[in-house]
Symmetry: D3
Subunit: 242 residues, 6 copies
């Protein structure tokens, strides 16, 4: 299942058979005191493993550096530009196509990567339209998130290191969560944060966007399972061709 | 020691204290029937861990995609361009500098990355001369390799998936070596391979460049220890400043 | 108010006085049979004029070419790349900064431009942090849109040439609307459209995403006024400095 | 005739029928006290309208930002780089080609755009040789200009905001001319201005390059008509194919 | 005088003393049967040598590859892109600045290089305004050319491999001229050649643009001396500073 | 043999006949007090001339600017970036391919150019696989160098302005060598020079890397002849096709 543990002599047939290459993409980024810098990498990796199992796909090695502009001034964050990300994702996709893969499924653990992934997918589509490129970020989970969440969302689109993301970690990578350090820190995100470049240090000291102490394993499980189900369904459908 | 398992609240002081960020860089590339595609990633990772221990540095998550032009047509290889690699390495280095690191040590497991690493290092040097950027690929081991090797080298500069590299794996990542599949396949590399673009399928079917069956754990240990010792020495010296 | 109708001898003082440059950005793109290709340009222009009046700003000439990847195969669409757009927006922002403007407010009439605008804003921020760059796309209107709309939204994030957008046009540029040609065409947008490059011809023949016949001038007015109010508020606040 | 006022349902057939897309390109640039910053946009627009009428072509929305390096330090000028301009013109041309246009006629109102237009045209030619790309800047008018002009030219190649350009405006956009503010300001342009980067503030305070008070509507009409006639002739000839 | 024949130990003081670096730029391009492909290189070189003598400057090694788009399909032409040329000229200028030169005088032998030279000069000016960058292409010779020429010009702006350019060669590099092969071939250059990409094979088979048999050494001498005088005057003036 | 002295009328057939274009590439770079800045250009040129004679090929004009990062701070060095070099070499190769050449042999006189040449060759190979691109830097001479050399090498890979390179010059371009100024200056190159950007001024004041006084014409002759023989053999083999 882990592509890089295969060997060159046997992998060719398996590629034809499996058809699907899954790339976990995350980031190294501040996630408060209770979650590790590599939270998004861990989530993407664990989710990819579950997905690969269900769709009989290969998991590629994690691309562990993402675009973290908003939090790049927080201790421990490592930021790469959209240009670098797009360029590398394009190259990887091109190689996968030449290797015979039919589906290149990028499983994202970090919202900041979304644009670069979409742009790389479009660039690949223009040149290799037969390759199906997926950019997956917990697809179809907004409803279940709304049901599960006890705290109000501090932002309409994103959440971070909070009740929800911490719950993901409790379910997918519990050994990396220090719940005793979890904080309740609900910032007031100013409206301007949506309309002008706004590093997050302007409105939060912790990088946590709600009450992380309310994180529970079953919340993470519920949402994650919906995401997983949707991803499986998308990929199975895509295997039959566009 | 693993940077991504740190949390944002505690990492700042540790960065100041440790000073050194170690980035393992490898590749996904054909390595014959007995070694996995991720051989260069595994070597870079394991070597980085040992290095970090000795110099009290942080290990960053592995950048697992490299420039594998020569072997890109072999099953399982994933190739990224020098441009992509340079750009991403530059971005990572820039972030590390801003985070307060003093030394950015790239530990390479794949020769094909060497140019991109050097070029990224120079670009960083032009803008952030205070940051010490190291590109390390088993430094200072040519003598010990010559002593250890039983087969003649098939090329003056590089070796691949052979007696030597397999020995590294036996020492650093033995659980990924299938010695029973190891082959003795000494290709005749034509002189033109050094002077014109020459995909390796033109002279080898296995991607092995000597007798891999002669690989031994102690050979790997001897060379690796020299490499490690040299890397430690370089970094300790660099900690005192340029 | 129209910047390009000013002359060079008198404009300098006015720039200092007004502080705000408003750039309408739209696109040339298929909008069904009842709306013109330039719908997004017209909306951006008219909205910018109203905004300029209220904040006493300058309106720059409209940048009438946008990123319309999704609809680029529809008759009449003209697509420019994100790279071109980012580059030109950056240049314009840089000139505005050097001319003495304090606020560069981009008023967007086309969702496809959103990424390029945000990216250009961030690039400007990195180099000219004193310049306030705004990317405005009907800010803070999701609630009022939900209230006003009679048809269900065909997509969670975007709408197009439908009840809502046609209402904007009825309010802002009625002379360009041919309501007698308006159609009710509610496509089923497949879930995959959010996760893989999906030109819209795969799910719609008209490019209309709901019942355009339900468009009403008062709907457009209500939403537009909320958007305008929010934009005014943001700019007035920004005039006092970051 | 205005492309952006067409709708997607009807435009396809018209494109096939008309064959010609005319893009006005201008700039926002200092033009003395008597002419607006948008002079070059107005000229390109009005000329394009006349041209479209005569050749039965479509006029695209004006691209109102140009390369104004020489005057970029004058109040009100907005400068975009050649790179941005080339990239956007290429994208527009590519879309026009895919939309079925046979001729892409760029009508320029600002000399500074000439290089970018030519370069974009060549890049399009290399990839889409069937698309005829024209870069038109008052073609074939040097003789009539010499006849009409009362003041000597202050430069062998260009003129600006002077007797000639002001005459164009009197003919094409008189409502934007404030003749009572027109100045006679004949600078001595040093020879070095042709051989080294020389911002115009080094030799003129007004940006006027001769006696603008001598501008007359009939002068503008005479030159403009020659330009127009030549453009019509070129396009009609091109309609018959290369 | 030839910079590359100096040695590193002695050159520093000479740079300070001489102040001026002269770069001959030419091209490899079809010039009919009587002139060599390297005509523009030879002219630039010989002219640079004369110039260096008069202004006591250094001559750098010739950059012998230029932008020859128009003639690139003729036998023997080697074309490089504007991008390549701009980039290399910028780098050379940057190095010269760092080496202590005050004036970087590019002496051009090929019109096609003119844009790249000007653009490189502007880019250098933006970053190193103290460095004076000159782009020199027979400056101030239009009058003397008109006086000297017996054949009418086939084009208002350029001439090529004709009476004039052959005369330059007779004066500057007579050993490379085969007058017995010179042809009289006056093409009719269509008006469209000025407004759309037009490879020269569309209107000439020889690449000669007038009667080359009328070339005379004294014609070349007269024009060249004017050019030289002007270049000397410009450089001497520039030595006193901007 | 000198391509640029050919004329366009006769060159086409000769290209088909000769098949081989040889491009000398060098640099302008500090080479101590006894060798000129253009040493690498002279070596590349003279070697190319000999090569052309033996393989009946064309010699192109020398590209005299190279990547001299390491020595760029020494008096007289002119450095161009890898990007500029790659771009120009690619363009030249593309033109040669279109002109009908079968082999593009780059003869390098400066180690710093090696990467750019290889990268350009690969880029050409991806697009024009039929064109054989060679990057030649004294191929196959390590053994004879070891035999000839009296001083130990100061570095395992490179040498510079020393016993060896000076010997090349004594054989190939003796009129440019000032042996009376030759120095014996054997620097201790620190190990870190191989692992971190290290401008050479950190370890040498002269840029000489061994005892230049030991240079002898016969040493240069021996090595050069081996290099030449190897180059001839490679090219003759390549003429028969890949």
């Amino acid at each position: 299942m882990q592509f890089q543990y295969e060997n060159s002599f046997e992998v060719k047939g398996k590629i034809i058979d499996k058809k699907v290459a899954i790339l976990p993409i995350g980031a190294v980024e501040a996630h408060g005191p209770h979650l590790p810098l590599g939270t998004d990498n861990l989530l993407a990796e664990r989710l990819s493993a579950k997905l690969a199992e269900q769709v009989n796909g290969f998991v590629l090695p994690t691309l562990p550096y993402g675009q973290v502009w908003s939090l790049k001034n927080f201790p421990g964050s490592i930021n790469v530009s959209n240009e670098s990300l797009i360029s590398m994702l394009f190259d990887i996709g091109e190689s996968l196509y030449r290797q015979g893969f039919q589906i290149f499924a990028m499983v994202n653990g970090h919202l900041g990567n979304a644009f670069a992934m979409k742009e790389a997918a479009r660039k690949l589509y223009e040149i290799y339209p037969e390759l199906i490129v997926l950019y997956l970020f917990y697809p179809g989970t907004s409803k279940v998130i709304a049901e599960v969440r006890e705290t109000p969302a501090s932002h309409g689109t994103y959440f971070h290191a909070d009740e929800i993301e911490t719950s993901y970690m409790l379910y997918l990578a519990p050994e990396f969560v220090a719940m005793e350090k979890a904080l309740n820190d609900m910032p007031t995100i100013p409206m301007i944060a949506d309309v002008t470049p706004t590093p997050w240090e302007e409105f939060t000291e912790t990088a946590i966007l709600s009450d992380a102490t309310l994180a529970r394993i079953d919340k993470g499980e519920k949402i994650t399972k919906v995401a997983l189900q949707n991803m499986v369904q998308i990929i199975e459908k895509m295997k039959e061709g566009r």
